[in-house]
Assembly symmetry: C2
Homo-oligomer: 361 residues x 2
C-alpha cells in the first residue's frame, strides 16, 4: 500500500492488537459526525429491506430529486457516486489530465487517482508558517502557468483551512481563463460556520470547468453507506456519466439518502454541536503543553508535537493501548511524524482525550 | 446511453408508466433467485446497523475469510468488488489490453469497460444454428491468433449455454500458450446442475493468466447489496488491488456477506428449486406456439419469436401493461428484436407468465 494512501479509521486493527471490542474504541482518526442518527433511519431500512432484492434505479431518480431540493441545484447538475472517492477516480479517468496542480498537504486519494492515470503532478506547498492558509497571489501566479486540472479541498483535509468565497471565485475565474478544470472537494463544507456563504454551488452555472464533490459520509456519519455526489454543469456531468460504471451506489444508500436529507432536526443539532465544540475543543487543546493547534473550519483539527524528539507514533501507541485512536498525519505531503489529526467528537469524548493527552504529553 | 448497455430490471420505469406499485410487478427481466432470504439476514442488519457508522475494513478480512471457506480457495486468491461490475472495469483498466477476444452475444458491461479503454475488440460470433453453443475447434483456431484478453461468461448470459470443464481447460491452456489473460465470468455458475464439476476454481493455481468473477447478486438475490469478488492467482490479485479504489464494497455488504454464505438451507433450497424449475419451465415454454426455446444451464432462458413480423417490443408492451417485465434481447450483439430473455422464477410466477404468453402469442 502506498504510504500516501493511509487512512484513519482502521478500528479492526486496533481492536485485534489490544483486545478491545470495536464498539469500545474511541476513534478520533476518522472525521465523522459523532451525533447519533435518528432511530427512524434504522427502522426505515428494516421496513424496506426488500429494496435490496432489486437492482438500484440506474439513474437514482429519487435520490437526485431529493438532492436537487437539498442543494437547490437543477437535477441535471447532479451525479451520484460510491462515496466521493468514486467520483475523484472517475473525474481523473474521464478527463485524462496531463498536468495537474495539487495543493498539499491534502486528502491522499487524489494522488491515488492521479497516479493510476500517470498524470504529471505539481505539488503546491501550503506553508506551515502561514498556518497552511493558501497564499492567494502566489498561488494564482502558479495557476497561471497552465494546468489541465486543479484539485482543491475546501475546507482542506487535514489542515482545516478554508478558502473564502471571494478568493475561491478568483481562483475559479483564473482557472477558466487557462482552460483548467477544477475538482473542488466540498465534502466537509457542511461543517463550516457559514455553509451557504462559503460553498460555490450557487455560482456553478457560470463555470463549465468546475466539479464540486459532496458526500453523506462525514456529515450524516455513515461512511459504510458509501454515498457521494458531484455537482457540476450538465456538460461535465454528461461526460462523467458516459464513462461511469452502472449501479455503483448500493440499494441501501439509494433508499436512505432521501430520508437522511429530511432529518432537519439532526442537521440543526449537528450545526449547533460543531459551532460550539470546535472552538471549545481547540481552546482546550491549546492549553496543553508542547502542542501546536492549527486553526480549523472543519470537524477535525491538525496538531503538531513541539517537544524535541517527540513522535506521533509513540503517542499513538500509548493512546491505542488505552482504546483511543488518532490519525498520524505523517503520510500527508510536507507533514512529518510530529503532526496528527483529531476528529471533533462529542463533549465527553473530547474531554476524555484531553485528560489522556494531559497524562501523556 | 449506449444501446449495448441496456439492462433488465428497470422496475421504476414500468411502475411509473403503468401506475403499478414496484412490489406488484412480476420481473422476469432480471436474473435473480426468487426464493425469499431467511429472516435472520434482515434482523442481523437491524441489530448491526451501527456498522454503517464506521468505514468498512479496507481489506475486508472477515468477508474474505468467509469466502475462502465457501470457495475452498486461499485468502490471497480473493479480491472483493462493488458487484462483479467493478471488477470487470478494474481488470480492463489494470491490464490495459490492446486486442480483446469477446464471444457474443454476451453481457453488455464487458463492452462498456473495453470501450472506456479504447480496446480493439474482436467479436467472436456464437452461432444460432448451434444453439449458441461454442464451436470449440473453430474458437481455438481464432484464439491462436493471439489476444491480450479473452472474456468468457460461463454459463453465458443471455444464451444460457455452458462450456464444460474439459473444454474450458483446453481454452485456458491455449490462452496460456499465447499469453492471453482470461476473464472468466462465473456469476451464474452456482445455478448449474453440477457446480463443482463445472467451475474451474480448483485449477486456478495452474493458471496465472485466469481471473474468475463471482457475485452475490444473482444467487443470493441481493443485487442492491453490490457484492462481487474475483478469484485469481495472487500475482494477478495484487496487480488489481494496487489500482483499486478504496472502500468500494459498502458496510452492509461487508456485514451480510459472511452471514449469507452460512445460509446452507437457503443454498440447498435454491439448488432444489432451479434443478426442478429449469426443465419444467423450459418444457412448458416449448409447448407454446411460435416460440423457440434455447437450452439453458443458468437461471434464465433465451427465447425467439418465430411468427413472421412479430417483435418482442410489441409483446413486451402488452406484458408490461399487465405488470410483467421481460428482457428484450435486441441490445445484445447478433440478436434482434425477436429475441427475449426470461428469468426462471417460482412455479406460480412462471405459470402466470405462461398463461399470459398463451393469451398473447
Amino acid at each position: 500500500m502506498d504510504n500516501k494512501r493511509i487512512h484513519g479509521g482502521d478500528i479492526e486493527r486496533v481492536a485485534r492488537t489490544y483486545g478491545f471490542n470495536t464498539s469500545d474504541i474511541l476513534d478520533f482518526s476518522s472525521n465523522i459526525n459523532p451525533l447519533p442518527l435518528p432511530r427512524v433511519v434504522k427502522d426505515y431500512l428494516y421496513e424496506h429491506f426488500d429494496t435490496l432484492t432489486r437492482y438500484p434505479d440506474r439513474d437514482y431518480s429519487e435520490l437526485r430529486q431529493a438532492l436537487a431540493f437539498y442543494t437547490k441545484m437543477p437535477l441535471d447538475y447532479l451525479l451520484m457516486g460510491n462515496g466521493a472517492t468514486e467520483l475523484i477516480y472517475l473525474t481523473v479517468q474521464t478527463l485524462q489530465p496531463k498536468r495537474v496542480l495539487l495543493p498539499v498537504p491534502s486528502f491522499g486519494e487524489y494522488e491515488g487517482a492521479l497516479q493510476n492515470n500517470n498524470c504529471e503532478i505539481t505539488h503546491y506547498q501550503l506553508r506551515e508558517e502561514l498556518g497552511f492558509k493558501l497564499d492567494l497571489p502566489n498561488f494564482l501566479s502558479v495557476l497561471k502557468q497552465g494546468y489541465d486540472l486543479l484539485i482543491l479541498c475546501n475546507p482542506n483535509n487535514p489542515t482545516g483551512q478554508l478558502i473564502n468565497k471571494d478568493d475561491m471565485l478568483t481562483i475559479l475565474n483564473e482557472a477558466q481563463k487557462t482552460n483548467t478544470i477544477v475538482l473542488l472537494d466540498e465534502t466537509f463544507i457542511e461543517f463550516v460556520p457559514d455553509v451557504s456563504g462559503t460553498s460555490i454551488l450557487d455560482f456553478l452555472d457560470g463555470f463549465e470547468n468546475v466539479l464540486v464533490l459532496r458526500a453523506f459520509t462525514k456529515f450524516f456519519a455513515l461512511p459504510g453507506l458509501r454515498l457521494g455526489y458531484c455537482v457540476a454543469h450538465p456538460s461535465l456531468v454528461e461526460k462523467l456519466a458516459e464513462r461511469k460504471e452502472p449501479w455503483t451506489v448500493n440499494g441501501v444508500a439509494a433508499l436512505l439518502g432521501p430520508l437522511l436529507l429530511k432529518q432537519t432536526e439532526f442537521i440543526r443539532q449537528t450545526r449547533t454541536w460543531i459551532n460550539k465544540e470546535r472552538p471549545y475543543f481547540s481552546e482546550q487543546l491549546s492549553q496543553l503543553n508542547k502542542l501546536k493547534v492549527y486553526e480549523t473550519y472543519g470537524n477535525f483539527i491538525l496538531l503538531k508535537l513541539l517537544e524535541k524528539g517527540a513522535t506521533v507514533q509513540a503517542l499513538q501507541e500509548k493512546l491505542e493501548s488505552r482504546g483511543i485512536m488518532i490519525r498520524n498525519a505523517a503520510s500527508f505531503h510536507y507533514l512529518d511524524n510530529t503532526y496528527f489529526r483529531l476528529a471533533i467528537k462529542d463533549r465527553s469524548s473530547n474531554m476524555r482525550l484531553i485528560k489522556n493527552l494531559e497524562e501523556l504529553l
